[in-house]
């Protein structure tokens, strides 16, 4: 009698406990969380992770908007979307008091204009957009800036990232204006400049720009820092050159959608991702930079001093962080982008 009572009450307590731990629904870029991390998290906290992925910011935004910010607990938008989502009430404030590991973050990467005080976002990984060169085919020293890509000898040979903000950035920097400009005249000037670049393009790629480099189809083009560092592991001849006019920089952030159901668990998840060991793993496996200072110290020397992953302060200063430019400028830029792509 008593044994059965004990067993049943124990089972009762256990089942309640299991329910109490619950789950957290995470929506992230594919392959953007290092292996085993989700399992580690569930082990440590007992919270189940429902994980799904997207391949571009826009799909994620559309899905979230249509569901009124419901359905997911954690999402990972890039810089320029954070401010827009904030203005539209799609995300909710994050309670820093619940994040014990917040202190590890690099102050330089916090409190940026897109989210003052980081009320709504926690940076996860950051990186740059610059020039990739295959040193087996081209001497990297001969490439110093974006303008070199316009050279006639690269006709039909370049790779450009299939993202209008990234491509326009090159023209803006050559023209000497901000990458976040909303001035229609400046946008038009950039378009005129880019028109002359189009004959040089062999391929646009936004999925894995390192792939055509590794396949031997291109030897010169735009590249993201993480892509470059991963490409180097496979083929040491692939190098990353920061253009003199200024590289593009961006940050991918964790946010909590306004309609999230498991807010408590979301905070626990954030806190876990802020652990230095986890951030260290992210750098090693994904190749982008972490804003987590303590994690940087944990890395081996080679990785810590890798200029591709962690550019010098000068390079960062010469470059510019991407931010939201508003709907009108976005629409105008898209019109020009479509014209460029259709050969006009």
């Amino acid at each position: 009698m008593t044994l059965r009572a004990i067993v049943s009450s124990v089972l009762c307590v256990l089942s309640v406990a299991a329910h109490a731990d619950g789950k957290v629904v995470v929506y992230n870029w594919a392959e953007y969380i290092p292996e085993g991390v989700l399992e580690q998290f569930t082990e440590k906290t007992g919270i189940k992770v429902e994980y799904s992925t997207y391949d571009n910011n826009e799909t994620m935004y559309a899905k979230l908007k249509l569901q009124n910010g419901k359905g997911y607990d954690i999402v990972v938008p890039s810089t320029y979307l954070v401010s827009r989502m904030r203005k539209e009430g799609l995300i909710q404030p994050i309670d820093h008091a619940r994040l014990t590991n917040y202190k590890h973050l690099d102050l330089d990467l916090l409190d940026k204009p897109y989210d003052p005080g980081n009320q709504y976002s926690i940076p996860y990984l950051w990186g740059s957009t610059a020039i990739g060169v295959n040193s087996d085919d081209i001497d990297p020293a001969s490439i110093t800036g974006w303008a070199d890509l316009w050279d006639e000898q690269w006709r039909g040979k370049l790779l450009l990232i299939d993202d209008m903000r990234e491509v326009f950035h090159m023209a803006y920097k050559i023209n000497g204006v901000s990458t976040n400009t909303t001035d229609p005249a400046q946008i038009e000037q950039a378009y005129e400049k880019l028109k002359t670049l189009m004959p040089n393009v062999l391929v646009f790629n936004a999925d894995a720009p390192r792939e055509p480099f590794l396949a031997g189809d291109v030897s010169l083009g735009m590249l993201w820092s993480g892509e470059a560092s991963m490409a180097q592991e496979e083929n040491a001849a692939i190098e990353y050159v920061y253009p003199s006019e200024g590289a593009g920089f961006w940050i991918d952030n964790f946010v909590i959608p306004a309609g999230a159901e498991n807010v408590e668990n979301a905070h626990k998840f954030l806190d876990f991702m802020l652990r230095p060991e986890v951030a260290k793993q992210a750098v090693e496996e994904i190749g982008y930079a972490t804003p987590n200072l303590t994690a940087r110290d944990l890395l081996d020397e080679e990785t810590r001093n890798n200029p591709i992953i962690f550019p010098s302060a000068d390079v960062v200063k010469a470059g510019e962080f991407q931010e939201d430019i508003g709907e009108e400028a976005n629409a105008l830029m898209n019109d020009y982008w479509e014209k460029l792509k259709s050969g006009q």
Binding site: G216, D335, S342
Partner: protein, 285 residues
Amino acid sequence: MRFRQLVITVTLAWLALFVLAPHILVLLTSLLSPDTQQLASYPFTMQSYTRLWEPVYASAFWQSFWLSLLTTVICLLIGYPFAWTLARLPKLPRALLLFLMMVPFWTNSLIRTYAIKLILGAKGLINSTLLSLGLIDTPLQLLYTPFAVIFGLVYILLPFMVLPLVTTFSKLDNCLLEAARDLGATPWQRFVQVILPLSMPGVIAGSLIVFLPAMGMFYVSDLLGGAKNLLLGNIIKNQFLVVRDWPFGAALSITLIVLMGLLLWFYVQANRRINRQGGLDDNAL
């Protein structure tokens, strides 16, 4: 009586709920004004439709059109004799070969498109073979060209041409062919006057289910063509996701559907005329 009603009711109910209603919503959206906050809002306006006349969109339409047409023609040229050969086989080998033809398609078209890159790339199968045989000095640019796009589209859409053709051919009465032969018709005459007209339903079916999806398949062009072309699918995706001008995206979609409808109508009318001349009965379609 009851069966007939059931069939009609199921048909109409499903179509009404999951096709008619959503598309009416799209039509309504296309008439609304673009709105940054809510994706679309009142008042009603025709402004989205007036934007359609810009050259960018016409050019995108023609690109998509020619690509799809070329793909359909090539699928027909390859698929027709292929289906004919298959249909002449006894039931079991035919079913076997059909299955074998479909099997690659259960391994996900996206992965296979990536595999095509490994065939066409600078260090890919074709180039490596040609280089090692000494037939060329430097690798041919096969990938990121229109050739690669057609290669990929035909690859994905070929079975959609073959399947309807095989079913049509398998119903072809051999007696008719024998009769024609007995009457002294040459193989060419047999083909043009007997086989071709009778296979028309299959040809139409196959062409439709190749051409129409091809018009919307922008990802093959993106992956194998280098994303250098702006196709209708790209534009619509952009409008819905990047620019978030839903009324315009909706207007583009409605226009595309209407244009395709017109093309379809012309094709059917032309076919009806052919059939009438050939003496075949043509009713429901």
